[in-house]
């Protein structure tokens, strides 16, 4: 059973890793989490994003937003790479999330067939 006392050890580990990383150039993934998004499965999409980020050990900022007015295209996510335009992907499945992260976030190639908006 986990206890809070383990956190100190975890903290030291994370601190060491943090020093190795280049700050201020992080990619950002934003998950739509309004009522429409949640009803369409956004919680599992966010879970898939976090799992993929963890698995690949990526330095990505994952946040959420409310309804952005494209309810019929939920669940959706935005991907913003440093210095690049923000891309909105919609009608997503968990498999799409893996594809977006490997192709766009890691390799920098927009997954064109899933894009619903560019900003």
């Amino acid at each position: 059973m986990k206890s809070l006392s383990e956190l100190k050890e975890l903290r030291n580990k994370v601190q060491k890793e943090m020093k190795k990383r280049d700050q201020g150039t992080r990619a950002e993934i934003i998950v739509g989490m309004g009522t429409c998004g949640i009803a369409a499965g956004a919680r599992d999409i966010l879970k898939a994003v976090l799992a993929e980020v963890e698995k690949r050990d990526l330095d990505v900022r994952v946040t959420q937003t409310g309804c952005i007015g494209m309810c019929e295209k939920e669940p959706l996510i935005d991907v913003k790479l440093p210095g690049k335009e923000k891309i909105t992907y919609g009608n997503l499945s968990k498999a799409d999330v893996q594809k977006i992260i490997s192709e766009h976030v890691v390799n920098g190639n927009v997954v064109k067939d899933l894009v619903i908006a560019r900003h």
């Binding site: 956190l7 994370v14 959420q64 309804c67």
Partner: protein, 185 residues
């Protein structure tokens, strides 16, 4: 919504948008007295009396004034169809409290669902700005979680760093399983 934990996620999303920095969630499961109670309290911007009166009407809440949406009316109708109800109290610039109860054994009651993911996702995406205090009672056993305590232990490490959120997910999951004696949600 297929799970009550999705309704909870929806309500705390409202809290987040209302600029809360502390959200308290309490779940009380008393199968023997046929009661399931969910209380969510935040310290956000609050809702005016005028809006509070219209809050259960999904067609009155307009998009432009959307600090509350369809979510409350969905949660309310879920509770009312299970012999319970939803009560909401709010004060401008003090916060909002939502109290919902269900007949625990009502045939139409949705399962509580994956509360662990609801909480750990929320912390992973908002933990730096918003603190979560969570208390879950099942019969006579209780699990309490306070993200502020986690932050004290973490020092300058972010609660949103992925190693920490992974730990939190396991921590909540294990403890919930423990108090519920391995019973499914």
């Amino acid at each position: 919504m297929r799970e009550l934990s999705l309704h909870i996620l929806d309500i705390i999303e409202n809290s987040r948008r209302a600029n809360s920095d502390l959200i308290k969630i309490e779940i009380l499961e008393k199968p023997d007295s046929d009661l399931l109670k969910i209380i969510i309290e935040d310290n956000g911007s609050g809702i005016s009396e005028e809006k509070l009166e219209q809050i259960d009407d999904p067609f009155i809440t307009s998009r432009t004034t959307r600090d509350v949406g369809l979510g409350i009316s969905l949660f309310k109708s879920a509770a009312e169809s299970c012999g319970g109800g939803l009560d909401i109290k709010s004060k401008i610039s003090e916060g909002t409290k939502v109290e919902v109860d269900f007949e625990y054994n009502h045939i139409d009651r949705a399962p509580l669902g994956d509360i662990t993911t609801t909480l750990s996702n929320f912390i992973a995406a908002n933990g730096e700005e918003v603190d979560i205090v969570y208390q879950h009672q099942y019969k006579d056993k209780t699990f309490s979680f306070d993200s502020r305590e986690i932050k004290t232990e973490l020092d300058d490490v972010s609660i949103q760093s992925r190693q920490v959120t992974a730990w939190i997910r396991e921590y909540i999951g294990e403890n919930l399983e423990e108090i519920r004696g391995g019973e499914a949600f």
